[in-house]
Symmetry: C2
Subunit: 99 residues, 2 copies
Amino acid sequence: MINVFTVEPANQQRLLELLVTATETSVRHVRGFMSAALHRSLDGTKVAMYAQWRSVEDYQAMRENPGPLPYMQQALALAEFEPGMHEVVETFSASHGDT
Amino acid sequence: MINVFTVEPANQQRLLELLVTATETSVRHVRGFMSAALHRSLDGTKVAMYAQWRSVEDYQAMRENPGPLPYMQQALALAEFEPGMHEVVETFSASHGDT
């Protein structure tokens, strides 16, 4: 899932804190959750959650789970939400040892 | 970078192939590139590249590098492009051993 939230820059930090709390206390304990990374856009207008789930069904079950639901409702009060369900086509690593 | 391309579903596969070629032959050899994952949206309308770069400056230098440029021009002929520069706020892993 690549979920992008569009926010007023004044609300970006609050939305980030909400999503950290939601993921730590609830989402990461749900069956099928594998890993996630939360991002702030440098221009202040977006928050992006890149999350790996075992299956589409596991993700959909989470969206109906009463644990994460109140957090999602709070997030939607702060931001526009564009969810995106994807599958990984290919991964790439650097060709050099440069770090 | 979370770069999302919006495409006609008929062009999704062609865009994916183009981005695989661009990344394999050019982008992953550029200084500052760390890793990337290429995704197709299940609805056919998006392609998303999630890439880690060492710095904003390294990414910007790549965008002006003559190696990747022709691929980017071909991609833009096929799709609308929305680039997004982000920093990672936090990462999360599953709380369970469920695989």
